[in-house]
């Protein structure tokens, strides 16, 4: 009879601890279709970093940072991976999006061109045809860079591009284009043409790029979950920096339809963007009030937003540890 009581007690304990073992189910909406730039995120999931923090994450592909910040701001997605300037824009328009970790410290929008073109500086674009994606924020960023660098717009033959930037360059319909260097640029390289690029961030654009974002309400209601998620997320990136091949291989295994050559070219370049003197000192994902202010000023100058906000509301470093 003693044994029986013990058995029932043990059973009871196990049953009661059941709920405690339940994981927090959350969604993470990325900025674009799955690419090797997201490899550290897949790694974090596959290596159990999220599970260790009691989180069951569903990773969803995205259709651009603009959509992702809308989804996160509306509460439809719990977390998002989207550009910091989009987060700031969203906040200025009433969507309470907050960045808890800035992963890509430099905006990857660049002027890309075949290496053979001999273009070295922006003024080398004079007399050439430049494809500009007129249907995205990148176009405004380019105009800003033109202004900052006092470029004579009339001297560059600019045409509007939407999709198919890589094809246009390969077909030699444009001499250069404003694009994400690690997407369209490296795609062309992967197809066999060496490319060069000038990052807009290197010619005066103070824009942070893709970051982990969430909703202000989520932070208010469940700061612990945000902390745990951010921690697991960053762990993936830190691990990736030290185990690049393993991370890339994991990603390719999870996404067998992706072009491996192109992915392999992209991955190291993306990782480079995560490292700055700031992050070396303060850890990956760190962002400074100063840079956020500069970014807001740029957005105001670009007339992307017409009213400033308190940038301290839009980002936070408190979840980095």
């Amino acid at each position: 009879m003693n044994m029986r009581r013990l058995f029932i007690a043990a059973l009871g304990l196990v049953l009661m601890s059941g709920p405690a073992l339940a994981l927090d189910k959350v969604t993470l909406r990325l900025d674009w279709v799955f690419g090797s730039e997201h490899a550290p995120i897949f790694l974090a999931r596959d290596k159990g970093f999220f599970k260790d923090e009691g989180i069951d994450v569903e990773i969803l592909a995205g259709e651009g940072s603009t959509v992702t910040v809308k989804l996160v701001g509306n509460g439809t997605a719990d977390f998002g991976y989207a550009a910091a300037d989009q987060a700031l824009m969203a906040y200025a328009k009433g969507l309470p999006v907050v960045a808890t970790a800035v992963i890509l410290q430099k905006n990857p929008v660049a002027v890309i061109f075949p290496s053979a073109s001999g273009i070295k500086t922006l003024t080398d674009l004079y007399g050439k045809t430049l494809g500009v994606p007129t249907l995205s924020v990148s176009e405004k960023q380019w105009r800003y860079v033109e202004k900052l660098n006092k470029l004579d717009e009339a001297k560059i033959h600019q045409v509007s591009l939407g999709t198919g930037i890589a094809q246009m360059i390969e077909a030699q319909k444009v001499d250069a284009a404003v694009a994400f260097f690690f997407n369209d640029g490296l795609k062309v390289v992967s197809d066999g043409t060496p490319m060069g690029w000038i990052l807009l961030s290197d010619v005066g654009l103070p824009i942070y790029s893709t970051s982990l974002v969430t909703n202000e309400d989520m932070i208010k209601k469940n700061p612990d979950l945000v902390r745990r998620f951010t921690r697991a997320f960053l762990k993936g990136w830190t691990y990736a920096l030290g185990h690049q091949q393993e991370t890339l291989d994991t990603f390719l295994k999870d996404n067998p339809t992706v072009d491996p050559k192109y992915s392999a070219l992209k991955f190291p370049e993306v990782l480079k963007l995560t490292q700055t003197p700031d992050t070396e000192k303060n850890g990956i994902g760190y962002s400074s009030q100063e840079r956020w202010e500069a970014m807001q000023k740029a957005l105001l100058d670009m007339a992307i937003i017409d009213k400033g906000v308190n940038v301290a509301d839009v980002f936070s470093n408190q979840f980095l540890k």
Partner: protein, 259 residues
Amino acid sequence: MIARHVTRTLGQIAVFAAFFLFWEILVDVLHVKPVILPPPSLIFAAMVKHWSYLLANTWPTLFAVTGGFAVAAALGFVIAVGIAYSRWVSEMTYPFLVAAQVLPKVALAPLFLIWFGFGLTPKVVIAALIAFFPIVINTARGLGSVEPELIQYMHSLGASWREIFFKISLPWALPYIFASFRIAITLAVVGAVVGEFISSDNGLGYVINYANTSLDTDVMFGGIFALSALGVVLFLVVVLVERMVLSWQVAVEGTPETM
């Protein structure tokens, strides 16, 4: 008669007004953030504020639509004549036409840019591609619907094919052709906008897309409303022309305005 027109138009306006009112109340009650879905009041305000911007971008879309429609009509007509009068042509081209119709033009977008360059041409091409199918189908049907006894009669009178075509078949087919024009003009609007989405720095499609990426949702909807208005106006133009050309048909239908 005038009174009837007026009450009809007022009724149509009332439907729109009710729709906008419902929308206005709904977003308020559901606490929808304006940047996700703005209420009509904000949209109209944005339209008023940016009216010259919207107007300036209406012209390029208008040109693309009318250009695309014209090409679709011409091309569609020629193909339809082939289909109506040659069984061989009909059997050979039909599967191809259907395939072309179903194909998502967006997928061909980069190719279009490479082949047709930038500017108005790719928009016109896409608009024409999307709009021409109903024209072909209906025109062929109209041409084929002529009473065969009448055709035989004309033949026996010694009429040339040209006489039969222009005196009998073509006028006979006009109601069908105009019916397809109504559909095609709306499709041409869609096509032109698709073209603008793919690549453009002007036009209402551009306005919509640009406002979308800038999270200016009120301007985006302003562009959408302007586009809808453009579509409605063009549709009415087609109906008006139809009424003039087919005045006899109008009389048959009794009520003057059957849309």
